[in-house]
Symmetry: C2
Subunit: 203 residues, 2 copies
């Protein structure tokens, strides 16, 4: 639309363009964000500007699990209380946080920072499966738990990794599929019910 | 949710918190944005950081119309080709851009940078109607066109301003309400049809 073309002073249009680089932020949202920050939260704008620079300057990838960290090795990987025979593979640090929040896993992680997506041109080389392979075959890992998402891309990634890792003689498991906790069957989608039936177990 | 509580190195959690200050960005989106920038667009992160600082440092409000500008008076207000007898009142610079994009207005503007919203504690003092009043009564303005949004808050603002400005002897008009261009009646809401009937005109 014509109205989406931004007209305004240079520092404002540069800011709107920069905000459009954020995922999920289009022309209209970027404008709204810029106006909001300038009008109601200039302090927040400065804080965000500082935080962006700091994060890019100070964070790097953990040499063992690939998550973001300020050190060579992240806190989780450095912890002696973690079970080094278990390695859980997730797509993002957000997924890792969710698993930690379940308080039911005490092993280590490998964070892919992505997933296979042939349609978007993301293959095994782009994800860096060689680093995962090196990590998983360190002699300590016995079981790799694939906890990629249950989307098409996540499932594709899990299938690919399962073959790759099994070929190395590693035990490979996948998070259970089924009915979510607290949900009513009436509102669960048919595909999930089909999975839950297939994978049914003794109560 | 427990998983919304962010766990990670300090520069990352500071960045996630700062991103949450953006309007419409919650905990999950902020995390996704942070991971995206760090993993796929560190250059974009630096650009955004720089743009935020620049915008806050270099932009101020136009002394005449209240929009964002680098100068004392914005380009529109400074233009000799504009009709100084017309003053169009809008809520945001984005609204002003939309009116400019229609290529059917040649007067000047006043940008409220907000609207009355009693429920959110935004009254006439918070919006600074005194500045609008001073601007509209400069002796040159003959007609004030109220172009606030057609939402509850925008309509409230327009009603309030209409009384305020008419009391000064100014001509006050409001953007026409009616059926949007290119739309089929079948898909237009009943309230709009009711307006269009009330305000019907010779074809």
């Amino acid at each position: 639309m014509a109205g989406d073309r931004f007209v305004g002073p240079a520092p404002l249009s540069v800011l709107v363009d920069a905000l459009k680089r954020l995922p999920g932020v289009g022309a209209k949202s970027a404008q709204r964000m810029a106006y909001h920050l300038l009008q109601h939260d200039p302090h927040g704008a400065r804080m965000l500007g500082q935080a962006l620079g700091d994060a890019v300057d100070r964070l790097r990838h953990c040499a063992r699990c690939n998550t973001f960290t300020e050190s060579e090795i992240c806190e989780t990987c450095a912890s002696p209380r973690r079970d080094a025979s278990l390695l859980c593979v997730v797509e993002t640090p957000a997924d890792q946080n969710m698993i930690e929040a379940s308080h039911s896993y005490n092993g280590l992680y490998f964070v892919l920072m992505g997933r296979l997506s042939p349609l978007e041109g993301v293959g095994p080389n782009e994800i860096g499966f060689d680093r995962l392979l090196a990590r998983a075959t360190d002699g300590q890992v016995r079981e790799v738990i694939l906890a990629t998402n249950f989307t098409t891309e996540g499932e594709t990634t899990a299938h690919y990794l399962a073959e790759l890792l099994r070929a190395q003689g590693l035990g490979v498991t996948r998070l259970a599929r089924g009915v979510p906790a607290g949900s009513e069957l009436e509102y669960v989608d048919a595909g999930t019910i089909a999975w839950a039936l297939m994978d049914r177990r003794a109560p």
